[in-house]
């Protein structure tokens, strides 16, 4: 059970939160081309490493927040909890 550091509630079990996916800026709806808009809707960087993403503290403060997590090791940045992690298989 991943601990997700909510900026308001502190570290909480990931099941208390809702995952909101990669953070991407919303293009201007009045000037975006179909390709730009659909890239915003569908295309993802999906890196195996550091990713800025959104979480919603659904069972806590009900705030959306954005944070960086390493998708290979599940570490959060700034600041990490002590007890470093290891990536890879188990």
């Amino acid at each position: 059970m991943l601990l997700v550091p909510c900026p308001n509630c502190g570290p909480r079990n990931s099941t208390d939160l809702r995952y909101g996916g990669e953070s991407h800026a919303r293009p201007d709806p009045n000037t975006a081309s179909p390709s730009e808009w659909r890239a915003y809707l569908y295309l993802r960087d999906n890196p195996a490493g550091w990713l800025r993403e959104n979480w919603y503290c659904a069972s806590g403060c009900r705030r959306w927040f954005s944070i960086e997590r390493n998708t290979a090791t599940n570490e959060f940045r700034d600041p990490p909890l002590p007890g470093d992690k290891r990536g890879g298989a188990a």
Partner: protein
Amino acid sequence: MTMSRQGVQPTEVIDRAAKLRFRWNGKRFSGFEGDTIASALAASGEQIFSRSMKYHRPRGILTADYWDPNLMVQVGDDPNVRAGHRLLESGMDVRSQNAWPSLNRDIKAANSLLGRFLTPGFYYKTFMRPRWLWPTYERVLATFAPGGKIDLDTSHAYHDKRYTHPDVVVAGAGPAGIEAALAASSAGASVMLVSHEHSVGGHLRYSSDAADQAALVELRTALDASDVEVLTDSTVTGRYEDNWLGIVQRNHPIAVERLIKARAKTLVAAPGLIERPYVFEGNDRPGVITSGAARRLVNLWGVKPGERAVVFSANAEGDAAVADLERVGTEIAAVIDGRTGGHISSTRGSSRAVDAVVADGASIDADLLVVAAGWTAPTSLLNMAGDRPVYDPAAARFFPSDPPSNVLATGGLAGDADLDGLRQHGAATGRLAAARAAAVRHRLQARTARALPVEGDEPAWAPDERAPLGRDPHPELYRADTHGMVDMSEDISSKDLVAAAHEGYDSVELAKRYTTATMGPSQGKLETVNTVAAIAEARGETISEVGTTVWRPPYAPLTLGALAGRMFEPVRVSSIHPWHEANNVSVIQAGQWLRPDHYGDPAAEVRNVRRNVGLIDVTPLGKLDLRGPDVPKLLSLLYVNKWMRLGIGRVRYGMMCAEDGVVLDDGVTGRLGEDHYMMSTTSSGAGGVWEWVENWLQTERPDWQVHVTPVTTAYASINVAGPKSRELMGRVCEGVDLDAEAFPYMTVRQATVAGVAGCFMWRIGFTGELSFELHVPAGHGLHVWEALMDAGSDLGVAPFGLEGQRIMRLEKGHFIVGQDTDGLTLGPSTGLGSLIKLDKDDFAGKPELAWAADRSLPMVVAIQPDDPGVVPQEAAQIVRGDTNEILGRITSSRYSPTLNRSICLGQVEPDLAAGGTKVTVLLESGERIGATVIDHHAHFDPAGERLRG
């Protein structure tokens, strides 16, 4: 080999005064309290406990502990019980699992003769033709499925879970683990010590050495005096993210098994070592046991393992076994020392017992062969933490490499030392674990309580200054000069593994998958390293080069019952529900809600609403209270239509689309005051829309002043519908003019209803009748409902349920999001394209909706079958003529009691959407019927006169 009970041993754990009677394959047996099932049977002279999976070879005791693959039995309705671990209880009904007709005479033992044909993967190479025979072959193969039987009538029984947040969890209660727990506790940490065995002490429990026994007493005394929480017969089954631990407690007084979930700040892994069987011809013959098995049998249960033994020893444990055996009168025929080149090649005898051992080239008569060939380091918890243990050929086992700094290894897993050395390392590990736990605790507190100051600075992350344990040299003993069984539970020999490697399945994972080695109940605890060694040998490589497999959770199996725990799925009902239940309601599940579906006759309910007045409980309808000066902007952003000029007291329908233009939800929103609005959502969309609103407010428009409060369950909601609804409402409402002009359609008023202040009601309605949707503070819902029923008795008031409402909404052609629309239905497809105001500066989904305006899209349309008596089932497909080409589908259908005909909504291709278009509907029966698209959604009262009345 005949095992038998001997005189009292100073270390024994049985209570010879407490005799327990039980049954084994129907026959009466007895043992003592403290016996395991296996030790009781062994003491009674039983030699064969199971039959092997493939060849049905007789199998006896191998390790006499939890991991013994040969001791799987059925106890009552409990399959796959570890007889080497499970304590004997009075009255147990114990049966062997994998034998027919009996353990002693097993018909499938004939398979042994076919061994040369049943090579690994043989089933992949045959039974391909003829194809139609495969199902028959499969049924035969399936009869070889090992394991016990489940009883489908077994109840889930009582299971509960426990959550705990200890500073330090110590997995393993040998001397190092106990010392770690004591030291961490002394340093101020809260500590949980988890012992896989029935009592703490690890290998000291079955050591007859006086110093070991003294140490055991000392450690147990210290534990008793400490604050350490000790769990016995419990296992840390998994280490997950951020030291989230699963612990199974098998000896809970009530639960069959209890799952404990612990968020440990540091984890100490001290599982000890598992003795590794040795591979040689006849190594699976009953009478071949590990040195640990011999010592446990003698010292814990007073059982003499055999009359005349050969001991193959490559370490001190083997040497100690010799002494133990001699003490109970086993004659030692020979000690073969594996450290100085002594070797064993095979055993001889029947399939049921050892008669002789071939060692150093000579045949030695014996009924027992005790083997001490080395150790497997159970690195599971470290693997789960991401560590990749490394093989040391000099010590002939794997060692931790670089686990995360909140997981610390000690004891045999970490290295070798004498008892004092192990205890000192354990204590140092405990102190380190406590220091690091303090740092984690401090930071967790600091990050959790923003408003509360946390005392002191964060403690520094304690460096690991433990003096490392040594590594005793040990010969690399995996296979003798003959082939033998590597995996007892799967019947996989070293020959099979070599053959698999030569066939190209030459990495550990491929060989494992191909042969199924290590896939059985002990999950490689005994088999993995020998498997790796066999592959390495076949490839001409070292064990380090071949590498090991990844140990996956759980460390020890745990029941589905323990994992499931208790069922915690809430049931939601409105405050009016007791009335429904007292009035013959038929309920329907709608998510977590139980809702009235009907009260006996939905068609009659519909007719009564159309003629008189009806009440429906619509409490689950989503309701969001919105306050603030920027609410109109928010509504404009989330709905496709315009909201900036909604007057106080007015209500408007709105449709929401997602950013891809797909319909997300719909409902009405009313303005209750200057900066006060109430938004309603669909019942199923209530949670999602709230999150959606918060997401926009918090991430895209944080500067807007809007406060959102979900009030779905703060109000009981009642729709009062029908031509006589105004009259009924007039009898219960105070402080509001209900006249059609004062309170017209699509407006909202606040009122006192049946004496309850703080109600509000809107003049809207899904049914198409004059109606008032009443929202009452939830605690008064039942009172208001009863007041309405009383006040309207002479008006013919009657309740109606969801089914009646669905019929009436379909008569009116109102679509339901998620039923008449789907995951690709764009806003304009609903037929409400005119709502979408592309001249607004911005709203969710605007670009897609703008582009959609130029596309021809599938449309939601109303459809009437040509035969009014035929109701096509929902999901009936609309097809092109007699072909199978799909052009659309019926999304809703009912028989209308108002119109006395079948009516539908459906989605059709754009060129079929015009009124008057004839379509073909394929019924479930296969019959094709004609139907006509009508030119508006409403089958009934398309002008909406009744509604506005």
